[in-house]
């Protein structure tokens, strides 16, 4: 497991008893009864047109303690994101090749949007095409995972999720 960077979630200054959480921790830690600041589970949006791949990536992410929303198209993902129906997404994981809008196009749209551009986007692909990989990284992708994705690939991403 990669060493986790300290969580960016604000630690309440009046309660030194709260230990600095690891980025991968899902624990909700109410500091005091009245304190509204809780350390939430990280929320990942997984986009893939294949039901098999959605099931696998969702399971891998949930096993790593993430909350997961799955959608089957980039169009749907953008819809939900732009409508503000997924306000707390910490990361998007998307397949590269999908009918209609590709994961690459989704990546571009997210990075062009002032509202969404801070969300890290990870691309998954079954094809190892160096050109494709560099294009995605240039466009601002956080990482590029080759399918089939494994649990170890995901734990690498852990420290990058804001």
């Amino acid at each position: 497991m990669a060493a986790a960077a300290p969580s960016p979630a604000p630690a309440p200054s009046h309660s030194p008893k709260v230990a600095s959480p690891k980025a991968c921790d899902r624990k909700v830690v109410p500091v005091t009864a009245s304190d509204e600041v809780v350390l939430k589970e990280k929320h990942v949006l997984a986009v893939d047109d294949s039901s098999v791949d959605r099931a696998v990536i969702a399971k891998i992410l949930r096993s790593s303690k993430y909350r997961v929303t799955t959608v089957e198209s980039a169009t749907r993902a953008l819809e939900l994101l732009c409508l503000g129906l997924l306000p707390d997404v910490n990361m998007i994981v998307t397949d590269y090749w999908m009918p209609g809008m590709t994961g690459y196009e989704l990546l571009k749209r997210v990075k062009e949007s002032s509202k969404l551009k801070e969300i890290p986007v990870v691309i998954m692909s079954s094809e190892n095409v160096p050109n494709r990989i560099s294009r995605c990284l240039e466009e601002g992708a956080e990482d590029f995972l080759l399918k089939p994705v494994r649990a170890s690939d995901v734990s690498r991403l852990c420290s990058r999720i804001r």
Partner: protein, 148 residues
Amino acid sequence: MEYSNLRRQIICMKKSLFDQGYLDEQFNQLEELQDESSPNFVEEVVVLFFNDSSRLLTNIEQTLEKYPQDFYQLDSLVHQLKGSGTSIGAIRMKNECSVFKAHCNDKSLEGSLQKMKREHATLKKKLETYFQLMRQAGPRERAVNSRK
């Protein structure tokens, strides 16, 4: 007594699925993901695969029957089939898809299609038997089996 027989059958069957190249390491990865919160995870994913792949094979067959042949559509369908096969570790299916793709320019795809369908049917039968044994053995078996 009954249980250890079943266990032996399961281990044998799994070994042969791997030795004969039907499944690869990815299948083990899926078994490792299985846990108390989703005790039937692997079977569920395999069912998803066969739902998807049966539909894709039908679409491939229909697309092949059209003239002029839509190679773009064919390529897309086979790509999807190859992708989900890879995700469950169905290595022989994956290879058949690659062969099919390679023949896309050949115009002699009918033979490749039949091979793919045969491979698909064989894998389905074997995995159905495998999961039947797993279900008979009960939840205890999953914990043991996931360690290969």
